[in-house]
Amino acid sequence: MPDSSYRYVFSLSLLMVASLLALLLAVAVGSVPVSLAELWALFSGRGLPLHQELVFGLRAPRALAAFATGGLLSLAGALMQVLLRNPLADPYVLGISGGAAVGALLSMLLGLGTAMVSGSAFTGAFISTLLVFGLAQGQGSWTPTRLLLTGVVVAAGWGALITFMLTLGSAQQLPGMLYWLMGDLSYARSPWLAWLVLILALLLTLPLGRSLNVLARGPLQAAALGVAVKPLAWCVYGLASLLTAAAVTTAGSIGFVGLIVPHMLRLVLGNDQRMILPASVLAGGALLTVADTVARTIIAPQQLPVGVITALIGVPVFLFLLYRSR
């Protein structure tokens, strides 16, 4: 299809440029601004040692972590929405972030270090995934409604545990716990795990795009068109869970990105998953990078949890697009 191929390349190129601009903005802005000329000097191997430390040592890892987290969450959200055929689904709807939060808060309560917090967050996410997977299978057949209900109820259970642990936390522990719950990139030291998962997931999902388009027509129609529905559904579920786990392990539970970004793109680009999945990664990454830059500079030296900014940017933009749509 020449017409739609052109649209595909154009839209993704545009998002790619926006992503690069967002990353440049993130490394340039801060307490010591770095101009474009100075950045160019840095990238070509010259530049001041102070700038070198600032850009490559501090800002770039954080910007890359923000980008990868945004990409992971948007991709997970887009996959969950198609899998459950429910526009309200997001990466957290099946209780994965609840499990991660319980793990993370537990190790904070016990006073363990940052690495242990990440490790137990990942473990919590993994346990929650297995729990929902096992319970949704149940005695009878698997349906999206059943998976959704199981996930929502398990998430409510985690929510109660989180509240319980917050009441147990000491006054020194509480701010850290709350920041984790709202999503915070200031402890995201190493973006590489998130990037690895993101790139692997993207390579896996790109060839699945057309099958997911078929799956969106319902399981019977999909089976009649040659899709092995059950293996595909479990593969998508496992993948979305892994993406979410990697994201919450990197930056805590950041709201709105996974719900809003895929929908914004659908309103503009249509419902072809072959387009929506890669576009979600780029748009989600760019949005979270910009949001994190705003979060750390707007009331500097104080930092805001990035979840506050994603909601403040995401909600009005989304409502505007929804209002304008047909």
């Binding site: 299809m1 191929s5 929405q81 198609v82 055929r85 429910n86 526009p87 060839p207 699945l208 057309r210 099958s211 388009n213 078929v214 969106a216 027509r217 319902g218 019977l220 129609q221 089976a223 009649a224 068109l225 040659g226 899709v227 092995a228 529905v229 659908r266 249509g270 419902n271 072809d272 047909r326």
Partner: protein, 254 residues
């Protein structure tokens, strides 16, 4: 030439015990009509023949191979289904919807070729949908969406076409158009099997009839022997008047 065969098949209808076994062959060029009251199991039978439901007993063979031993993709290259119900929580355009009929023929990395596009355009044109091709399916009327479903199945170029009430929601002109298209499919070698509610459509467009009684009893045969008023009155528990127009029998409920 592809043939679909039911062998001692007992369909699985929840809450109904037993059921008589069905053995029939849908041969190339045949047009089967399934008649029966609500809840007799027409849709369940159609889904079972498509391999989408497990039968209680017996099996369905596609060219002699049990469907359960074939991969879904292999089945979908031979057999298309027009469903009665449709889901579109994430609606696509009419063109995208019809093009999806090419899915079983494309590898994961492949995009649709110009040939696939031409097939989709021909299917759209045959159901007079060309002017709607850029509309989202959720903005269409019920009859227009039904035509999109039929076009998707035609785009699949099936050797076996199973259609669950293909004339649902269609106006008179498009009912005739849809039945003519199904007849053309049969003439070019496909086996066509459709559930119908309209006796007169079945009388005019089908050459074989399967009657499904509410108690699970079945009988089938060529159309001339099956469409007799006594059998049909027992089938629907409804008195019928038979008239003749232009040499063809018409059934009207009394």
């Amino acid at each position: 030439m592809t043939m679909l065969e039911a062998l001692e098949l007992v369909i699985d209808i929840p809450g109904r015990k037993g059921g008589s076994p069905l053995s029939l062959q849908i041969e190339p060029g045949q047009r089967w009509g399934v008649l029966g009251p609500n809840g007799a199991g027409k849709t369940t039978l159609l889904h079972t023949l498509a391999g989408l439901r497990t039968p209680r007993a017996g099996q369905v063979l596609l060219d002699g191979v049990p469907l359960s031993e074939l991969r879904r993709r292999q089945v979908a290259r031979q057999l298309a289904v027009v469903f009665q119900e449709r889901q579109d929580s994430f609606p696509a355009t009419v063109m995208e919807s019809v093009l999806i009929g090419r899915h079983p023929f494309l590898s994961p990395w492949q995009r649709q070729s110009a040939g696939d596009l031409a097939l989709a355009q021909a299917a759209l044109a045959s159901l007079s949908l060309t002017s709607l091709q850029d509309r989202l399916v959720n903005t269409l009327s019920g009859g227009e969406r039904q035509r999109v479903s039929i076009a998707t199945a035609l785009c699949q170029q099936p050797a076996i076409l199973l259609a669950d009430e293909p004339t649902n929601h269609l106006d008179l002109h498009h009912q005739v158009l849809a039945m003519q298209l199904l007849q053309q499919q049969a003439e070019s070698g496909a086996g066509v099997f459709m559930c119908l509610h309209d006796l007169n459509l079945a009388a005019r467009w089908c050459d074989h009839i399967l009657l499904m009684y509410p108690d699970g009893a079945l009988c089938h045969g060529p159309v001339e022997t099956m469409l007799v008023p006594e059998a049909l009155e027992r089938l629907y528990d409804q008195k019928l008047v038979v008239t003749e127009v232009n040499g063809r029998a018409f059934f009207i409920p009394q």
